[in-house]
């Protein structure tokens, strides 16, 4: 029986987030029925504070409101703090997104067993003496485009939506003793910013996530 395997790969998701919707592990017998056993195909989806509405648009979801957080932020955020700058946060506001890979194939392969002609002297210096990159074990990621023409308008290999509405520095609110009352990442003293970033498809994101096609293969090995 031919099957296509779909693995859900989730990074940094707490155990409590798993549900009955997770797919069950396959045993060895079930795996043996899978064609193309040299590799697997997987789907990867990560939603960050986002969901799709009925029109297919990506919209923020489960973000804190001022009702939920008294001192709070009316949007989803992430914030960075840098070493030596203790009172300020670099805050990305109105932050939500989607990252999906659709049917990416993972294989164990070996690199080409002969030189490519692209390794010049600087390249050889990079690897050092005694290292041979030819015929080396590697992990390979690729997409099956065997049924697609080079000019076929297919863009369903990856989907990315990213909304970073505003980027601004926010400072901790502290008492005279230096104790932090409200950390900068929860404040909104600068409600606007000229800097923002959005990645989407269609007029004003009406097409949902941006869509991408990747031909060829990516291999990774260590040295």
């Amino acid at each position: 029986m031919k099957k296509t395997l779909f693995f859900l790969l989730v990074l940094n998701v707490p155990a409590t987030a798993f549900s009955e919707e997770q797919m069950a592990l396959l045993n060895d017998e079930e795996l043996s029925g899978v064609s193309a056993r040299q590799g697997i195909a997987l789907n990867f989806e990560m939603l960050i504070n986002a969901t799709l509405n009925a029109s297919g648009e990506v919209v923020p979801d489960n973000c804190p409101t001022s009702a939920l957080v008294a001192a709070g932020t009316p949007d989803c955020r992430f914030a960075l703090q840098f070493n030596g700058i203790d009172d300020a946060w670099l805050v990305v506001k109105e932050y939500y997104g989607v990252f999906k890979l659709n049917e990416v194939h993972v294989d164990g392969v070996r690199t080409q067993d002969s030189v490519s002609g692209y390794c010049d002297a600087a390249c050889q210096e990079r690897f050092g003496v005694g290292f041979d990159p030819d015929d080396r074990p590697a992990i390979q990621l690729s997409y099956d485009h065997s049924d697609l023409g080079s000019n076929t308008a297919f863009y369903n290999d990856a989907e990315i939506f990213l909304n970073a509405g505003k980027v601004a520095a926010e400072f901790n609110q502290s008492d005279p003793g230096g104790n932090i009352i409200v950390p900068g990442y929860l404040r909104n003293e600068t409600p606007g910013s000229a800097i923002g970033l959005k990645m989407a498809d269609g007029v004003n994101g009406s097409g949902g996530p941006a869509q991408l096609r990747f031909d060829g293969k990516m291999m990774m090995y260590g040295y």
Binding site: L47, N62, F78, A88, E189, S193
Partner: protein, 550 residues
């Protein structure tokens, strides 16, 4: 197939995943590029890494998918508002024949023409060796250190902010291949103008950008800043872009659109072209200069809490060891030393030139350059005798260097009309050679007056216009008195004609106002020639964001 939602309110961890995903799956073409580093000379090496190989690679973004980079409005008078500036259809593909941004049914529309050197077609096929298995992208951790050379020595160039030339520091680095197959990077853009104002003021500017070439040798490094009092996260980036560039706006009839977000087909020839570009921009150096992020400070060094943040490449410290490596002068320090070294660097990369001093290797790590075209013929100190012909050939008769003709499309900077459009009138003076060294003859008379006394003989018969069959024989043996490029016969052929226009000399009070009959070259392409900027040195750079109350 839609999976269940998984969310985290503490999103910073998820950010790591996103970043890793991008890093692992994408080639980071924008980060690619840059200077090949002599690593044996740069480091005492210890470290290992991960290699990323891309073969038969192509990255296509759907032509309706975009990035936009405008946040909230910055002030009530701003005409730019959120989402008014977008880049669509980011593409990384091969150089050969391909497709446009428009599609018919489920197929991309084929390009009608490759334009000049492939710059007429935005999307191509797959790249065989975007990153070969034996010259991959590399992500690794390395220890770099200076070789302990004295403060008055350049050594291997590595020095801390405090002037230490031997301390070892650990660096996380992403390196592009040192050599890779040429490829095509392109996107189309959209700018909304006059939004929010009267309807008659509203409009869309759609443009196309195509870059073809190699991005080999990129360097992106992360480490802890060595600046005193600023033990911050720091990074540097060295950008080396090589190839051809085109920017255009003309759309093909029948495949055009003035509708927001609708892909169009751009003419294969129209626009601004740059051929044979080699541009290196070093933004930071191990370890005395790097980007860090901070908040603005007042004159007393206190935080300015206006919500803005600063991305800054620090000023180089007042330290002799840093100065020696940063400037990497080829001659003894003097008021002219920077110019003389830059001049030698220019000649070191110019056909037939014989620089009188040798430029230290480290100079090409700390100084950027932007070279457009092949820079032939070289003229001036250190250059060979200027040929009086259009080309120079080797013993077999093969052309090894060539002047740009007035309508050259293979080299240098040129503008082209769109397909089927009428020719335009190009008007130019022949280039004046200016020698600015003290005590040397200087030519600075665009009106052509008072030049003969300095030995300047305008090209041709009484005019300085670039036109048909105009020849100049240099006197005195220098060639400078024919203008830049020396003495040779210019021929615009049948493209030469006359027209009635205002003489630009009128703006210098060197000709009467009003129209007059002027010689022009009626052409579809106007080549401006080549350009060189050498010795680009960045002592500091600061970007401050603009917060807004909207």
């Amino acid at each position: 197939m839609r999976m269940t939602h998984h969310r985290k309110r503490i999103v910073c961890n998820a950010v790591h995943s996103v970043l890793f995903g991008w890093l692992a799956c994408l080639p980071l073409p924008g980060m690619a590029a840059l200077e090949q580093m002599d690593e044996a000379a740069m480091s005492n090496v210890s470290g290992a890494g991960l290699a990323f190989v891309w073969e038969d690679f192509r990255w296509l973004t759907k032509p309706t998918s975009y990035f936009e980079q405008v946040g909230s409005g910055t002030d009530p008078e701003s005409t730019f508002q959120r989402g008014d500036l977008r880049w669509y259809g980011i593409n990384v593909s091969a150089k050969e024949a391909g497709t446009t941004w428009t599609e018919t049914g489920s197929s991309m529309d084929a390009c009608a023409s490759q334009g000049y050197g492939g710059l007429g077609c935005p999307r191509g096929g797959t790249i065989s060796h975007f990153a070969a298995h034996d010259n991959p992208y590399v992500l690794r951790v390395m220890d770099y250190s200076g070789n302990g050379s004295g403060a008055n020595q350049i050594g291997n160039g590595v020095v801390t902010w405090g002037g230490d030339t031997s301390t070892s520091k650990t660096v996380l680095e992403l390196l592009a291949p040192t050599s890779q197959e040429d490829y095509r990077f392109s996107f189309w853009g959209e700018i909304e103008a006059g939004k929010g104002g009267p309807a008659a003021d509203y409009g869309l500017l759609k443009t196309q950008t195509i870059i073809q070439g190699s991005a080999a040798g990129s360097v992106l490094q992360f480490f802890q800043s060595t600046e005193a009092g600023n033990p911050n996260f720091a990074f540097l980036y060295k950008s080396h872009l090589q190839g051809d560039f085109r920017f255009s706006a003309n759309q093909v009839n029948g495949k055009d659109s003035d509708t927001l977000g609708t892909p169009v087909q751009f003419d294969a020839f129209e626009g601004m072209h740059f051929r044979n570009v080699d541009a290196f921009l070093p933004l930071g150096h191990l370890f005395y200069q790097a980007f860090t992020i901070d908040v603005p400070k007042d004159a007393s060094g206190n935080d300015i809490t206006n919500g803005n943040f600063v991305l800054a490449l620090n000023e180089i410290p007042d330290n002799p060891a840093v100065y020696r490596r940063h400037y990497s002068l080829a001659v003894a320090d003097s008021i002219h030393a920077g110019y003389q070294t830059a001049r030698a660097a220019l000649l070191a990369n110019t056909y037939g030139a014989t620089p009188s001093v040798t430029v230290p290797d480290n100079y090409f790590q700390t100084h950027g350059y932007s070279r457009w075209g092949d820079w032939f013929p070289c003229q001036g100190v250190g250059c060979p005798a200027v040929p009086t012909s259009m080309t120079v050939t080797d013993g077999t008769g093969a052309i090894i260097a060539q002047r740009n003709t007035f309508n050259d499309t293979s080299d240098g900077i040129f503008f082209s009309k769109c397909s089927g459009c009428t020719d335009f009138d190009a008007f130019a003076y022949t280039m004046t050679a200016v020698d600015v060294r003290a005590g040397q003859s200087q030519y600075n008379c665009p009106g052509g007056t008072e030049c003969s006394g300095d030995g300047y003989n305008p090209r041709g018969t009484g005019s300085r216009f670039y036109k048909q069959n105009d020849s100049c024989k240099p006197s005195g043996g220098t060639g400078l008195n024919c203008g830049y490029g020396g003495g040779y016969s210019i021929s615009a052929g049948s493209a030469y004609t006359n027209t009635s226009k205002v003489n630009p000399q009128a703006f210098f009070d060197a000709a009467s106002a009003g129209t007059q009959t002027l010689p022009v070259i009626r052409t579809g392409v106007a080549n401006l020639g080549d350009s060189r900027a050498e010795g680009l040195l960045i002592n500091s750079f600061k970007f401050t964001s603009l917060g807004a109350q909207y």
